[in-house]
């Protein structure tokens, strides 16, 4: 059985980075990483893990999105206005508003699309890698990404054009 410390060392930073990008700054990513490793730790006691990389990514993506959904799911999308970063007067106080709005919008996506989008754009994975990680056909990855981009674009850009009302 693989050395646990080595597994954490090899894969932990990437898993944390992925969770952090999905969830943003704050303690949630740290908690999710612990949840992910705990789940995988228990899993490996029952059966051998062949692809640590894929297993950890799959669990991390789903757990982070679950948490994001729990955290954001009931907030109205209208709660935060879009402003041009160049002349935003709030300075650091609302720095990251685009990121936060994107995260909120991701909670509006179906689970599969949210996971595919996160792995593609927050983690830089190829279609094949995403397909392997999530157990999908590569063609289904493309379809899900197309739908996710369309919906997110609509959620984010309509907001800007409509002035946030």
């Amino acid at each position: 059985m693989a050395n646990w410390d080595q597994i954490v060392r090899d894969h932990g930073p990437a898993i944390f980075r992925l969770a952090r990008r999905i969830l943003g700054p704050g303690p949630d990513a740290e908690d999710v990483v612990q949840e992910v490793f705990l789940e995988v730790f228990q899993f490996r006691q029952k059966q051998e893990v062949g692809n640590w990389h894929g297993l950890l990514r799959r669990v991390a993506t789903h757990r982070a999105i679950d948490r994001l959904r729990r955290r954001r799911g009931n907030e109205p999308l209208e709660g935060l206005e879009i402003s041009d970063a160049a002349d935003a007067p709030l300075e650091t106080a609302v720095a990251g508003e685009l990121a936060e709005r994107l995260r909120r919008a991701i909670t509006r996506l179906p689970d599969g699309q949210a996971a595919v989008f996160s792995l593609r754009y927050f983690d830089g994975r190829s279609y094949d890698e995403i397909a392997e990680t999530l157990g999908m056909e590569p063609s289904a990855v493309g379809t899900a990404l197309h739908k996710a981009r369309g919906k997110l674009r609509s959620l984010l850009e309509d907001k800007v054009k409509g002035g946030g009302q």
Partner: protein
């Protein structure tokens, strides 16, 4: 610190995105990863190879270890100096922590009961509590569920039919009291605090007693307010089975008049079931009840933190003469006058009584209003209005009357009321880290409170209110940030004095003026139409030598009522500052 650019698909991935979506993804990728957080996360993951633990369980292992050491020490200490309540209590904490659930029930005078569930290993607390009837409302039953680790509070009130989710840090809620007891009293060691940190729990004593026909150990705890002279006091008497070290009952004894609603002694019977509720629904909340998340958005918390940080209240110092006028009157025509001293968290406000006759002689052209009023203030009679010594806020109520011919013959001014007596009342402790509950959020510019009190770290947003930030509002002064707060449970009722509590607040902060609150509106909305019922706007401001911004002309909406008119007029407040004034500490003594 991100590896996005190192990805082999980097260029390809970016080509798939455009516009706001691309900008948003790039913003996510630009966020720092947080090396410290990463290190901590990996450390937590590595520890999983040790026996499974959660943060709370680790804390309990620490407590257990502490308790074990304490128990061993107890033998020595008991021999050396008799009873040592703290050490003995550690064994009780250990015993409670070893049980999957603690369940407590109390029956109130009217026969209704409350129940609480607590699990140390799960770090959760839940229950059904009753908020007693008040002058404005009937008694209400609430269901509560607290995730103590995550700081998440779920509250369900049957008549609303919703589970409202907030965070502990957002303010007070009906479960705060019980949460505090468990976290400060049963979960951790005595010495914790309750009532939003205003009372410290002190383990007073332990003794052997007979209760319910059995010998047991009675531990007495007292909630002690700092700097409190008498007033309400609360004791907990916890009865512990000497064989199991488990509490089987606790009594709450209060001298607070409100406690009469429950009886001055309230008894909780405790048992330790093997299983407990899995969630708030298991307590009896209908499965159809939806969770509404009213946690404050992070941008609201960020704005609140920024406002507090920029105010740098702790080293604020000034003296000011404040002139209150009716709308449209010139600067030299006042209705009421204040003198304000402010030094950090201490302040003092004096005011004149009586009425002011505008000067009969013409004001010299080009006269400096600040100089003119400061000199004039030296000739006026002021009485104390409000004072804060840094620990407590004091109010002064003066009884006065119009001067009689005898008063005038004795030298009293015809223009000023005669003060008969002044009563001093201690009102509230100063809470430097949070706003006092009960105060609305837009008292800015008024010398008696909003102006002289420090801004709150939470901006006074009550738990359950809905808040949002608009970084580029279409209304309000240019370049400001708008904070909107709404009370979702507002009802269109007037008090007996005709006052309608605000349904919404709009607060505009000016980043270019140190996040000064430059405009606020209190509103109600009925039949789709919004109505401003109160608020203020800073029409002019000045910058002190230390860089802070202060209002110099403030308009308070609808603040002055006139006899025979049901419409209020605006009030104007003009502030004349001296930032170099000598401000001795003795000024703030009550």
């Amino acid at each position: 610190m991100n590896d996005f650019t190192q990805s082999p698909q980097d260029g390809f991935v970016r080509d798939e995105l455009s516009g706001t979506l691309l900008a948003s993804v790039e913003e996510v990728l630009r966020e720092p990863i947080g090396e410290e957080d990463l290190g901590r996360a990996l450390d937590r993951a590595r520890r999983l190879d040790e026996p499974r633990s959660s943060r709370r369980a680790r804390r309990f292992r620490f407590l257990l270890a502490t308790a074990a050491v304490a128990a061993a020490l107890l033998v020595v200490i008991v021999i050396w100096r008799g009873h040592q309540p703290g050490a003995a209590w550690a064994t009780v904490v250990e015993a409670v922590a070893s049980k999957p659930w603690l369940h407590a029930v109390t029956t109130m005078a009217d026969g209704t009961n409350e129940e609480l569930w607590f699990s140390a290993s799960r770090a959760v607390m839940g229950g059904r509590v009753v908020v007693p009837a008040s002058a404005n409302d009937d008694a209400r039953e609430w269901f509560v569920w607290n995730d103590l680790d995550a700081g998440i509070v779920d509250l369900y009130e049957p008549r609303k039919g919703l589970i409202v989710r907030t965070r502990e840090t957002q303010g007070r809620d009906v479960s705060e009291y019980f949460r505090a007891i468990f976290t400060a009293f049963l979960l951790a060691e005595p010495g914790g605090t309750i009532d939003a940190g205003r009372r410290k729990l002190v383990h007073q004593q332990q003794r052997e007693v007979t209760e319910q026909g059995r010998r047991c150990t009675e531990h007495r705890f007292r909630a002690q307010k700092e700097d409190e002279d008498g007033g309400s006091q609360r004791d907990w008497l916890v009865y512990v089975d000497p064989d199991t070290q488990l509490p089987f009952r606790w009594d709450e004894v209060s001298s607070n008049p409100l406690a009469a609603l429950f009886g001055t002694r309230r008894r909780w019977d405790v048992d330790y079931p093997a299983t407990g509720p899995a969630d708030i629904y298991a307590l009896g909340v209908p499965k159809t009840a939806k969770i509404v998340d009213r946690s404050l958005p992070s941008d609201v918390e960020a704005l609140a933190a920024t406002v507090v940080a920029r105010s740098r209240w702790a080293d604020k110092r000034f003296y000011a003469v404040v002139v209150q006028s009716d709308d449209g009157k010139p600067w030299w025509d006042g209705r009421c006058f204040y003198r304000v001293w402010s030094s950090g968290f201490r302040w003092r406000v004096d005011r004149t009584y009586g009425y002011w006759m505008p000067p009969g002689e013409p004001i010299p052209t080009g006269a400096d209003p600040a100089t003119w009023w400061k000199q004039k203030a030296e000739t006026l009679q002021f009485q104390p209005e409000n004072r804060c010594d840094g620990k407590w806020e004091w109010r002064y109520d003066a009884k006065s009357r119009n001067p009689t011919p005898a008063d005038i013959a004795a030298g009293a001014s015809r223009k000023l009321r005669v003060i008969e007596s002044i009563e001093k009342k201690r009102m509230y402790p100063v809470r430097k880290e949070s706003f006092r509950e009960g105060y609305p959020i837009c008292l800015m510019g008024h010398p008696t409170n909003g102006f002289s009190m420090p801004p709150p770290s939470g901006l006074g947003i009550y738990q359950g209110f809905v808040a949002g930030v608009d970084a580029k509002p279409k209304s309000g002064p240019p370049g400001t940030i708008l904070l909107q707060v709404r009370n979702p449970d507002w009802k269109p009722v007037k008090s007996e004095h005709g006052y309608r509590s605000p349904q919404m607040w709009r607060l505009w902060f000016a980043p270019d003026k140190g996040y000064l609150l430059v405009r606020c509106e209190e509103l109600v909305s009925q039949d789709g139409k919004e109505e401003i019922t109160g608020g203020s706007v800073i029409e002019q401001a000045t910058q002190a030598p230390d860089g802070r911004w202060y209002p110099t002309v403030v308009r308070r909406f609808n603040a002055i009522g006139f006899v025979g008119s049901d419409k209020n007029e605006d009030m104007i407040l003009r502030f004349y500052y001296d930032f170099e004034a000598d401000i001795p500490d003795s000024l703030f003594e009550p």
